[in-house]
């Protein structure tokens, strides 16, 4: 056990920090969940990519620098510490890419990964459907075989696709075997959102941004080369990867460490009229973020020794999502009656609060995640 960073790790941190200090846009970009903001964020992603910071843990051939998981964590800390923009490429990089690395063909990797990393092609996810939310196996969108054209024809509706209104491509599951039920007979497709038969309707989120979209597919052609993994094996493909090889999660500790520091600053600015219970809440948020940091170093050391992450990932998702809610709730308490304002400098907290509220809902509600912990970590009966 040695909890000091190595010289190479320190050097990596220093390089990241100085580049970010020199390049992070000031003033901050408008929300990337709006059309204008999204375009600006794509430019930022291009700059990140050109400097080799877009996907540090990827192989160099795809625009990465073969960084270790520990270095990836360090980069994330520096990225959020610098107040750098949100990552509009994240769903491709963190959700699709690990699956591509593990189960994609070399042709798919070569064709897709660099453009994904540079933001030239932006990806959104197409998991949820009106009747398949927490219960993903309820998917009813269909894929019909089109032998004549060596491909498939997709029809159905996907919903809650984040930034779907602005992205170029979508990955998702479709029912390729109409006979099969639940988890069986699904295939993992990569869909061009500019293709014929695709209609995208933006949906306004709690904070007013059009961060969601409904995607309607009518007889949309997808060539065989855009099937990821084996036909009818989509569920296994989607669940196969933990993503632990090239980046643990969409929500590494760095973002919460930075948010906790900003919360402490806000507390100091309001310390005179802050009541003692809110002081305790500020401290809890800070300690939560630090606890998440050390739990992550603990996990990453195990992974670098060849371990795998399993259902413990559910513990992590519950922890960061609820920490994020408490952290922003505490900020609003500090702002008191001015918290309701959505213009002015402090408005970032109300926006962050609304964003944080999605954490316990998406990617498996925390109720489902607690079931997973109980059943797969603790071994309680499924029933």
């Amino acid at each position: 056990m040695d909890l000091t960073f190595t010289e190479p790790e320190e050097a990596f941190r220093a390089e990241a920090r100085s580049w970010l200090e020199a390049n992070v846009p000031r003033p901050a970009l408008p929300s990337g969940d709006t059309r204008e903001g999204f375009a600006l964020h794509k430019e930022w992603e291009r700059a990140l990519f050109d400097a080799g910071w877009a996907v540090v843990s990827w192989p160099q051939e795809y625009g990465g620098r073969d960084a270790s998981l520990m270095e990836w964590l360090i980069f994330e800390e520096e990225y959020y510490r610098a107040g750098a923009p949100q990552r509009v490429t994240q769903n491709g990089i963190f959700l699709l890419a690990p699956t591509l690395f593990e189960l994609g063909t070399k042709e798919q990797q070569d064709r897709i990964l660099r453009k994904m990393a540079s933001g030239e092609e932006t990806w959104c996810q197409g998991w949820s459907e009106p009747n398949a939310g927490s219960d993903l196996a309820g998917i009813s969108s269909r894929a019909a075989r089109d032998d004549a054209n060596d491909g498939w024809r997709l029809s159905g509706q996907k919903t809650w696709t984040t930034r779907g209104a602005f992205c170029d491509r979508m990955f998702g599951l479709f029912r390729s075997d109409p006979e099969a039920e639940r988890h069986r007979g699904l295939t993992y497709f990569l869909v061009d959102l500019h293709a014929e038969g695709v209609t995208v309707r933006p949906v306004e989120r709690l904070d007013g941004d059009e961060g969601f979209a409904e995607v309607f597919l009518e007889d949309v052609f997808v060539p065989d080369r855009d099937v990821l993994g084996a036909v009818h094996e989509g569920w296994r493909v989607a669940m196969a990867t933990t993503g632990s090889e090239r980046g643990l999660t969409l929500r590494s500790p760095g973002r919460f460490l930075a948010a906790a520091e900003r919360l402490v600053d806000l507390y100091r600015a309001h310390a005179d009229d802050a009541d003692p219970t809110v002081r305790d809440a500020v401290l809890r948020a800070w300690v939560d973020a630090d606890a998440y940091r050390w739990q992550t170093f603990w996990t990453v050391t195990r992974l670098m020794d060849g371990g795998r992450t399993g259902p413990e990932a559910s513990l992590v998702k519950i922890f960061w999502s609820e920490l994020d809610v408490r952290l922003h709730e505490t900020a609003l308490r500090l702002l008191g009656p001015r918290a309701e304002l959505v213009d002015g400098d402090d408005a970032v907290w109300m926006k962050g609060w609304q964003f944080s509220l999605s954490g316990p809902i998406y990617a498996g509600t925390n109720e489902i995640q607690r079931n997973v912990v109980a059943e797969r970590v603790l071994g309680l009966p499924r029933r």
Partner: protein
């Protein structure tokens, strides 16, 4: 000891409830986010019904009532998320008015908002008068800056110089009025969510049959069940001129604020992504609850007031 409302009070509550169910459906609340005033257009009719003048003397066209007569009506305004400065106007300003302004205010001919310690005037842009400290001033007599609220109907105007002193009576009446609205908001969010949990199916069953969902909603019912009597008790203390009314109002506002925030959290969590869109109505109630829970003293501020009385033996509220 008789802790119940009179038949007249309940009848008036029922009348206001059905009026708002008919005239202030979610669409009206939603439209208030985008129209010119942020308001419902129901103000004069609320005046006609006597809602605005409950606390005005009869000779001024009011009902000559007290907070026991008003509290249930404010609860209904919360249940409907009525986009109006009804607490500021009917619970705070009207009883302080003199001369010919009183009848006009009771009838809904004018709209009055009140300056809280923050100096943020809700519905200020469309108000005819503003109560600042103990003076009724016209908006143009004040230096005001427009702001946007997370609740698109509130349209707060910020005073460059917030009022330096606000009477205890004003704080108590405003805080209790808001507490009553928070109870109504909580009740409505709970009902909306129970209805949704019965309909929405996942894994082949209604999500309301999952124990985790049941317990989320049971916890909201619990908070509501034990906050509501504190609000009604405080209404009596105000009417009765009880010396400890600032303590009773403090308990009421603290617990009503906590209940409403809990209800909003549970409602969103149970609704899931659907509740996370502005196309669905829940957010209109949720954002009102966020704004009101923090206005006229949040749970911690009132808790502090109560603590000074209960733990330190103070017998008067703190100066603001």
């Amino acid at each position: 000891m008789r802790f119940a409302f009179s038949d007249e009070q309940l009848a008036m509550r029922d009348a206001v409830r059905s009026f708002l169910e008919n005239e202030c459906p979610p669409k009206v609340v939603r439209d208030a986010w985008t129209n010119d005033t942020g308001r419902s257009g129901l103000w004069p009719r609320l005046g006609e019904m006597g809602v605005l003048g409950v606390l005005a003397p009869e000779e001024c066209g009011g009902l000559g009532g007290d907070f026991r007569d008003l509290v249930l009506l404010l609860e209904e305004s919360g249940r409907a998320a009525l986009p109006e400065p009804i607490v500021e106007h009917a619970a705070v300003a009207v009883p302080l008015l003199e001369g010919d302004r009183a009848p006009a205010a009771a009838a809904g001919g004018v709209t009055i908002t009140v300056a809280p310690p923050s100096g943020l005037l809700p519905y200020g842009a469309d108000a005819d008068l503003v109560l600042v400290g103990d003076a009724f001033l016209e908006p143009r007599a004040l230096s005001l800056r427009p702001h946007e609220s997370v609740d698109g109907s509130r349209r707060p105007l910020a005073m460059t110089t917030p009022p330096n002193s606000i009477s205890h009576a004003v704080t108590e009446q405003a805080a209790l009025g808001v507490a009553a609205q928070l109870i109504g908001l909580t009740d409505r969010m709970l009902t909306m969510t129970v209805d949704y949990a019965k309909e929405r199916h996942q894994f082949g069953v209604p999500i309301g049959s999952f124990q985790a969902v049941k317990h989320h909603l049971a916890n909201v019912a619990l908070a509501l069940e034990f906050a509501r009597p504190l609000v009604y008790r405080a209404a009596w203390s105000m009417a009765h001129g009880d010396n400890a009314r600032f303590v009773h109002v403090g308990m009421a506002k603290a617990r009503a604020s906590e209940a409403a925030l809990l209800a909003a959290r549970a409602a969103l969590q149970v609704h899931g992504a659907l509740g996370y869109t502005t196309e669905y109505d829940l957010h209109l109630w949720m954002k009102r609850a966020w704004a009101l829970a923090a206005s006229w003293g949040d749970a911690a501020w009132h808790g502090d007031q109560v603590g000074r009385a209960i733990l330190d033996g103070e017998t008067t509220p703190e100066e603001q």
